[in-house]
């Protein structure tokens, strides 16, 4: 599993490289565009994901101790939190569309025109990065649902619970990606400006 996570790190790595380039080349435009992201919603979502990581860890813990009921409950909780995260994300996306901040199709930059290009690229990266992260969340929720089904069936014992553990590793990894995305995307411009 760790070998797979290495692959995932490099997958997102390319995006972080593009992000760093953009921030270096179009610093002011990036700052201006970042101001349009809602740091409160982003922060709430970070909190939601951190809680879900805790419930996931507790689910693995329960599986290791062979507590079927607790495992299932914690997994369901994890899934709900994942869904909340995606719900907030969807709300943010629709907001961006209404504000005319959706690159390519509906982009109307009303501030300093010198920043339009850089801002559009920043929002483009914002959508690609959070979009791919969201896709990973969807896959994660699917995995958790599958694990819930297996746990309900009584597949896991203190001796055999590798699928739960592996799903946990994946979930935590997706959480970690967000831990970096949040400050890099949302917190560039100090919120009081």
């Amino acid at each position: 599993m760790w070998a797979f996570l290495v692959t995932e790190v490099m997958f997102f790595g390319g995006l972080f490289l593009a992000y760093t380039f953009l921030r270096w080349k179009h610093h002011d435009a990036v700052v201006a565009a970042s101001g349009h992201l809602d740091w409160i919603l982003g922060g709430v979502n970070t909190g939601v994901l951190l809680i879900s990581s805790l419930t996931m860890a507790m689910a693995v813990h329960a599986a290791q101790e062979g507590k079927r009921k607790a495992t299932v409950n914690f997994l369901i909780l994890t899934m709900i939190l994942g869904a909340v995260f995606l719900g907030v994300k969807a709300f943010e996306y629709s907001h961006k569309w209404h504000d005319g901040l959706f690159p390519g199709f509906n982009f109307h930059w009303t501030e300093n025109p010198a920043y339009a290009g850089g801002a559009e690229m920043f929002l483009f990266l914002y959508f690609v990065m959070t979009g791919l992260h969201g896709l990973h969340m969807v896959v994660g929720i699917g995995l958790v649902a599958w694990i819930i089904k297996r746990a309900n069936r009584g597949d896991f014992t203190p001796e055999y619970n590798i699928p739960v553990e592996i799903t946990g590793l994946y979930w935590h990894f997706v959480d970690i990606v967000w831990i970096f995305l949040y400050p890099l995307l949302y917190l560039i411009q100090p919120p009081h400006h």
Partner: protein
């Protein structure tokens, strides 16, 4: 893989630490450290250091890296190292673009 059982208390402690760090990240973003200290890019450095710390907490405790085999450490380390190779070498190109090496005399 599923050998070590971590006490619940550890998980709660780590979780609290993560939440505190999240609050700190947001607070730091309120302060304009770059201007206050005169050190350019201090904000981003602090923000990334906090994110890195959070990552290490999740990796070491939630993902049980602390109790894992050496091989797991190698793979985890390799991912960070390779990411660093990609970022550092590429950025080395960008940051040295403006430098002048040969001048016409």
């Amino acid at each position: 893989m599923s050998g070590h059982i971590v006490p619940k208390k550890t998980y709660y402690t780590i979780f609290l630490l993560l939440m505190v760090l999240l609050a700190v990240t947001v607070l730091i973003a309120y302060l304009d450290l770059d201007h206050a200290t005169g050190i350019g890019g201090l904000n981003i450095i602090v923000a990334l250091s906090i994110a890195f710390t959070k990552m290490m907490l999740v990796v070491l405790y939630f993902m049980h890296m602390k109790w894992s085999s050496k091989l797991t450490w190698v793979f985890g380390g390799a991912s960070i190292l390779w990411l660093a190779i990609m970022l550092v070498i590429t950025l080395a190109d960008y940051f040295s673009r403006g430098w002048v090496m040969f001048t016409n005399r």
